[in-house]
C-alpha cells in the first residue's frame, strides 16, 4: 500500500487502515535506533526542514533524529531565526523555503490551520508538528504505537485523557485517532478545561479524577496549556494539583496493568506526582523512544516508500 496523501496534517482525516500502516511501518524502523550504527540509506538525498514557530525540544529533536537515521539532510529554522519577526507572511516564508527544494517541511505553529496554509501553497510534503489547539498527529500516532506495543492491541481498551482538554492538540489528535478503533475514551479535567460538545466526538466526560481513572488500561496525563490560556480558567495551579494530580492512590482502581502516559513536557507535582511519573506503570520514556520510529515511518511513507 502506497501512502495516498502529500501531507500529514491531522489524524482526523486518517482511516483505521492508514493509521495501522503507519504503526506497522514504524515497528520495522524501531530496531534501527537500537543498532550500533543507527543509520540506513533509505532517504539519502532527501531534505527535511523543521520550521518550529513554537518552542519544542522533544518533537523537533525526534524529527531530526528520525530524518538523519534515514540519511535525509535536515535543516531547522525556528520562530526567532526565521523571517516571521521581519514581517514576512507564513505563505511567503513557505514559498521561499520551497525554492530551495526541500522534500518535507515539518511545521509547528501556535495557530490552528497554519500547516494547512503551507500544504495548500506548496508542493513539498507538509507534516503538522502541532498547530495551536488543533492537532499534533505524530504525537497521537506515537501514543497509539506505544499503547499497541504494551497492550498488543488497541481495540477494546479503556483510556482516560486527563488535563487541559480544551487547549490540547494532543487530546484532539488522540481522540480522533482512537475513535477509529474500538477504544473507550474518557476525558477528565475541570469543567472549564472540557470544551463544549466534546461528547459529540464519542468520548465520555468525567470531572472527577478518581472516577475517570477507574478500570482504565491507559491513563494519559496532559499539562496545563499556559501559553493558550489554560491558567485563566482555573483559580490556581495549586488548586489544580489538589484535584487533578495523578498520584499512586489513584492507580488502585485502574486496571492492574495500567500504563501511564504523558506527551511532555511534564510538570511534576502539578498534573503528575514523582512516584507515578517514575513508577513501574510509566511508559513516558518509551513514548519518546517510539516517537523516533513513528516519525521515521511517516517520513518514509510520505516520501513514497512502500511498506
Amino acid at each position: 500500500m502506497n501512502w495516498p496523501y502529500k501531507d500529514l496534517l491531522g489524524t482526523r482525516e486518517l482511516s483505521r487502515e492508514e493509521i495501522l500502516l503507519i504503526l506497522d511501518t514504524a515497528e520495522s524502523f524501531k530496531e534501527i535506533s537500537r543498532r550500533d550504527i543507527k543509520k540506513v540509506p533509505t532517504l539519502r538525498g532527501k531534505t527535511v526542514i523543521t520550521a518550529f514557530y513554537e518552542p519544542s525540544t522533544r518533537t523537533r529533536v525526534s524529527f531530526e533524529i528520525a530524518a538523519k537515521r534515514l540519511s535525509a539532510d535536515t535543516i531547522s529554522i525556528s520562530g526567532t531565526t526565521s523571517s516571521a519577526v521581519k514581517g514576512e507572511t507564513l505563505k511567503d516564508t513557505g514559498r521561499n523555503l520551497e525554492s530551495m527544494r526541500p522534500d518535507v517541511i515539518v511545521i509547528r505553529h501556535s495557530m490552528p490551520g497554519a500547516p494547512h496554509i503551507l500544504a495548500g501553497a506548496l508542493a513539498s510534503s507538509i507534516i503538522n508538528g502541532g498547530d495551536g489547539a488543533h492537532e499534533h498527529p505524530t504525537q497521537a500516532l506515537l501514543d497509539l504505537f506505544t499503547i499497541r506495543e504494551k497492550k498488543g492491541t488497541l481495540d477494546g481498551l479503556k483510556v482516560a485523557i486527563v488535563g487541559d482538554i480544551a487547549h490540547s492538540r494532543v487530546a484532539r489528535s488522540n481522540i480522533f485517532a482512537m475513535k477509529k478503533f474500538d477504544v473507550d475514551v474518557t476525558c477528565c479535567g475541570p469543567p472549564t478545561m472540557i470544551p463544549p460538545f466534546l461528547e459529540d466526538l464519542g468520548v465520555n466526560v468525567e470531572y472527577r479524577l478518581d472516577k475517570a481513572v477507574a478500570d482504565k488500561d491507559v491513563i494519559m496525563m496532559l499539562r496545563i496549556q499556559k501559553e493558550r490560556g489554560g491558567i485563566s480558567v482555573i483559580p490556581s495551579v495549586k488548586e489544580y494539583a489538589i484535584f487533578y494530580s495523578l498520584k499512586e492512590e489513584h492507580l488502585q482502581t485502574a486496571k492492574k496493568d495500567v500504563i501511564i502516559m504523558h506527551p511532555g513536557p511534564m510538570n511534576r507535582g502539578i498534573e503528575i506526582s514523582d512516584a507515578v511519573a517514575d513508577g513501574p506503570y510509566s511508559v513516558i520514556l518509551d513514548q519518546v523512544e517510539n516517537g523516533v520510529a513513528v516519525r521515521m515511518a511517516i517520513l518514509f511513507l510520505l516520501l513514497g516508500g512502500e511498506s
Binding site: L90, P112, A114, G132, A133, H134, R169, R172, D200, L201
Partner: protein, 427 residues
C-alpha cells in the same frame, strides 16, 4: 431622456404589486406604470424586460465602503460599482473608516465624495460614540445635518449601557435609528463560533451568547425609552427567538441578517479558509435553519450584505490573524434568491426585505415604484444560472467564500435616478 421598460413582471412590495406592466421613466422619475404603454416615438429608449422581473432598486443598510482611510480595500466608486452590479441602488456605509465617521466633516466628505464618484445613492451611517470607543457621544446632530440616516458603532458594541441609553434617547430628536452590532467582548474571545466545528478545528471560539445577551440588553434599553432599535447581522438562532418574542411586545424593533448567515454554517471554517472568517461568526447548522425560519416568519425584516472588502494581505494569513469580513454586494441578492427557490419566501416577500422594509427603517423615499416615484429600479432574471467569479468583481475586495459557486438568479440592469448605471453584458 425617456426609457420605456416593456413586458416586465413588476414586483413591488410597497404597492403590493405583482403583474406584467410597462413602465415609462422620464428623466429621474417613473412617469407612469400601465398594462401597456405604446412605444412612444423617437427619443424613447426601449428596454425589453420580457421574462424578467422589474423591482424597486435594492437598499443595503449595512456595507463598508472603506473610504476615507482604507482606499486600498475599497472606495466609494468601486464599492458602489459593485453595488449596482448586484442590484443595489442605495447603500448605507458604516462609520468604521479612518478617520471614523463620528463628526460632521467626515459625514460631509462621504456625501460629497459619493455625489462625485458613486454609481448609486450612498448614505452614511454615523458613529454612536466618538472614535467608536464607547466613551462619549459622537456629533449626532451635526452628522444628521450632514446627511447620516442611522447610528452605529458597527464592529463593536457600546459596552456602557448607560451611554447607549443616552444615545438612543438623544437621537430621538433626529429620528435616527440605532443599528446595534451585538457582541459582548468578554464572551467573544474567539475567531469562530463555539460549537462542533470549533471543537474539530481547534480555533479559538466564542459562544452565540455573546450576541444574544447584548441583543436582549439593547432591546430592553430601547423599550425603556420607546426608541427605535435595529439589531443588525443576526447570526444566532437564539437572537432570532429573542426578536420574535420581543416583537410581540414592541413594534419599534427591527432586525436584519446577511446572506452568509443563512447560506453557510461553521462547517465552512474547517478548511481554515479565511474568507469564512466574519464577525459575528458563521454558526451551527441549527442556527442557519433558525435564521432562515426567522426570515420566513418575518422576525427578520431586512437582508443586508455587511459587504466588508479587504485587501489580499489582510486575508492571506493564518486564520487567527486574518481580518473579519466577506464581500457581499455582488453576491448577496443572488444568494438570497435561494430562499425563493427553496420555497421559503415568495419573490415579493424577499424583495420586501431588500426594498420596502429598509426604506421604512431609514425613512427613505426609495424602495417603491409608482407613478411619480424616483426611478431607482432593477431588472433581474430570477432563474438565470451563473457562476461566482471573484476575479470579475467590481469590488476591490475578493474575499468571498462563494467563489466558484453556481447561483440561480442574476441582476441584469440597474437604474438609479432614471439612468441606467449597469447593464449585464448578456442583456
Amino acid at each position: 431622456m425617456r426609457i420605456l421598460i416593456k413586458n416586465g413582471r413588476l414586483i413591488d412590495p410597497a404597492t403590493d404589486r405583482d403583474e406584467k406592466v410597462d413602465i415609462l421613466v422620464n428623466d429621474s422619475q417613473v412617469e407612469k406604470i400601465e398594462r401597456e404603454i405604446p412605444q412612444a416615438g423617437a427619443g424613447v429608449q426601449v428596454v425589453d424586460a420580457r421574462g424578467l422581473v422589474v423591482a424597486p432598486g435594492l437598499i443595503d443598510i449595512h456595507a463598508h465602503l472603506r473610504e476615507p482611510g482604507y482606499e486600498y480595500k475599497e472606495t466609494i466608486r468601486t464599492g458602489t460599482q459593485a453595488a449596482v452590479r448586484g442590484g443595489f441602488t442605495t447603500v448605507v456605509c458604516m462609520a468604521n473608516t479612518d478617520p471614523v465617521n463620528d463628526n460632521r466633516s467626515v459625514s460631509e466628505f462621504i456625501v460629497r465624495k459619493a455625489q462625485a464618484d458613486a454609481f448609486c445613492r450612498v448614505f452614511p451611517c454615523g458613529a454612536i460614540t466618538k472614535g467608536l470607543k464607547g466613551e462619549e457621544l459622537a456629533q449626532i446632530g451635526e452628522m444628521y445635518e450632514a446627511g447620516i440616516v442611522a447610528l452605529s458603532d458597527d464592529g463593536k458594541t457600546v459596552k456602557n449601557a448607560g451611554l447607549l441609553l443616552k444615545a438612543m434617547e438623544y437621537s430621538k430628536r433626529f429620528a435616527l435609528p440605532i443599528v446595534s452590532h451585538c457582541e459582548d467582548e468578554n464572551l467573544s474571545q474567539g475567531v469562530v463560533h463555539e460549537g462542533h466545528a470549533s471543537l474539530l478545528s481547534g480555533l479559538d471560539a466564542a459562544p452565540a451568547l455573546a450576541e444574544e445577551t447584548i441583543a436582549f440588553r439593547d432591546i430592553m434599553l430601547a423599550k425603556y425609552i420607546s426608541a427605535p432599535i435595529h439589531i443588525t447581522h443576526i447570526s444566532s438562532g437564539g437572537t432570532v427567538r429573542i426578536i420574535r418574542d420581543e416583537k410581540t411586545r414592541y413594534s419599534r424593533l427591527t432586525a436584519d441578517t446577511c446572506p452568509h448567515y443563512f447560506t453557510l454554517s461553521d462547517d465552512a471554517t474547517l478548511t481554515y479558509d479565511t474568507n469564512t472568517k466574519v464577525n459575528p461568526p458563521l454558526r451551527s447548522r441549527e442556527d442557519v435553519t433558525a435564521v432562515r425560519e426567522g426570515l420566513r416568519d418575518g422576525s427578520i425584516d431586512i437582508i443586508a450584505t455587511d459587504h466588508a472588502p479587504h485587501d489580499l494581505p489582510s486575508k492571506d494569513v493564518e486564520f487567527n490573524l486574518a481580518s473579519y469580513g466577506i464581500v457581499g454586494l455582488e453576491t448577496g441578492f443572488s444568494l438570497s434568491l435561494a430562499l425563493v427557490h427553496d420555497g421559503l419566501l415568495t419573490l415579493k416577500e424577499l424583495l420586501r426585505k431588500f426594498t420596502q422594509n429598509p426604506a421604512r427603517l431609514l425613512s427613505l423615499p426609495y424602495g417603491n415604484l409608482r407613478d411619480g416615484s424616483t426611478a431607482d429600479l432593477i431588472i433581474f432574471d430570477p432563474d438565470a444560472d451563473w457562476v461566482v467569479d471573484k476575479t470579475q468583481f467590481a469590488s476591490k475586495g475578493k474575499n468571498t467564500p462563494f467563489h466558484g459557486w453556481k447561483l440561480k438568479g442574476k441582476n441584469r440592469l440597474t437604474m438609479v435616478n432614471g439612468k441606467i448605471v449597469y447593464r449585464d453584458p448578456s442583456f
